[in-house]
Symmetry: C2
Subunit: 247 residues, 2 copies
Amino acid sequence: MIESMEKRRTIRSYTNKQIDDAVLLDLLKIACRASNTGNMQLYSIIITKDAEQKKKLAPTHFNQPQVMNAPVILTFCVDVNRYQKWCKINKTEAGTDNLMFFTNAAIDTTIVTQTFCTAAEEQGLGICYLGTTLYNSSQIADILECPKGVIPLCTISVGYPAEEVGQQLRLPFKAIIHDEKYTDFSDEQIKEIYKETDEDESNKEFVKINNKKNLAEVFSQIRYAKKDSEFFSNEFLNSLKARGLLF
Amino acid sequence: MIESMEKRRTIRSYTNKQIDDAVLLDLLKIACRASNTGNMQLYSIIITKDAEQKKKLAPTHFNQPQVMNAPVILTFCVDVNRYQKWCKINKTEAGTDNLMFFTNAAIDTTIVTQTFCTAAEEQGLGICYLGTTLYNSSQIADILECPKGVIPLCTISVGYPAEEVGQQLRLPFKAIIHDEKYTDFSDEQIKEIYKETDEDESNKEFVKINNKKNLAEVFSQIRYAKKDSEFFSNEFLNSLKARGLLF
């Protein structure tokens, strides 16, 4: 396993080979063995294999080709609906419409997603997270007929790899790990930490194409621009409130 | 790996055996290979081994014994500080104080946490998530000297297992998995799904000790009571705002 984890790459292109149902279910069962808050299992997993459903989902993921190309799309949802219903038939109030419950459920949902990914990759499958899920969670919830208390959080495409890709750069380890206390960074240290990223040829090309001065501009002004983040934050907050996940 | 994932149990008691530094760092490096949003790596990991630091952390985790007992405590933090500083020296605004950035960073932080856990378990280590992190994130941030833009999200204790414990019950698979669309549950289905949980002897004992009528009451009135969740939600929201993670 450790080897498959060390060598992993995100895979966006898949062969025609289908994933055996038993294999998929086994991997999902393994994922559900992961830790979760108080064993409430505040998540649900929706399997999409049907081409018509994929067609409906594709625009919500900004038509990223892997939605149609992957044999399986998995949507991992925060789910307080099941827990609420259990409380209701036991005549007690669940009290789940708050940030604490949502954050716990979001952590649990992410844990189960990532555990699935690690297990799937070890079995030779390739995965890709679709970050678009947060942008259009409400529309995805409608397509998947999620009731109140359920909101999509993580989507992954999964299938047998049809591409060989290099590993992405990561920041140097000293940027991530702190010993006993967080040691903040000087400007010089930040420059050093981001040196390899800033000087990477494909990143430089990316800066040029986008007509920006540097990679930080591309990220902060185009890929994750403040106004877009604020727009989608508002959409997401409204979606959480409308679906009874936040008061 | 698949076997270690299938058989995993949360471990709260550890032997005196220390974790070799090189082993720990290798596992953390492997964890950082996991997927993350736009390769921004919006997380930091703080290693606690020092007994004095553990003593300070213990009350923030409601004195759960594994904080002192484990050779290593790892605090995985949402971190937009490093990214902000990179943007600043490149004279561009990061725009990270919104729900979208926070949720993305929280997902990334959880992914790296859980990837570490899976790798560590495969190497014979045992882990336990400390859900208390969200309750006292601000106090933990102070102890670990986190600057603005950094907030603890997941803490795990890790060490070599000194206990053998049984696997916890999980809900039946049909409660979690939905095919193509979410299929909502009737009262009868909810009863069936929770039957094994409700009838479990140790859960029944737990209900009796707590002087409640059923397990749903214990969860909704004691363990995750609405008023407590709302109190800690407010604390957490204030903490996110004070630390510049939400506007």
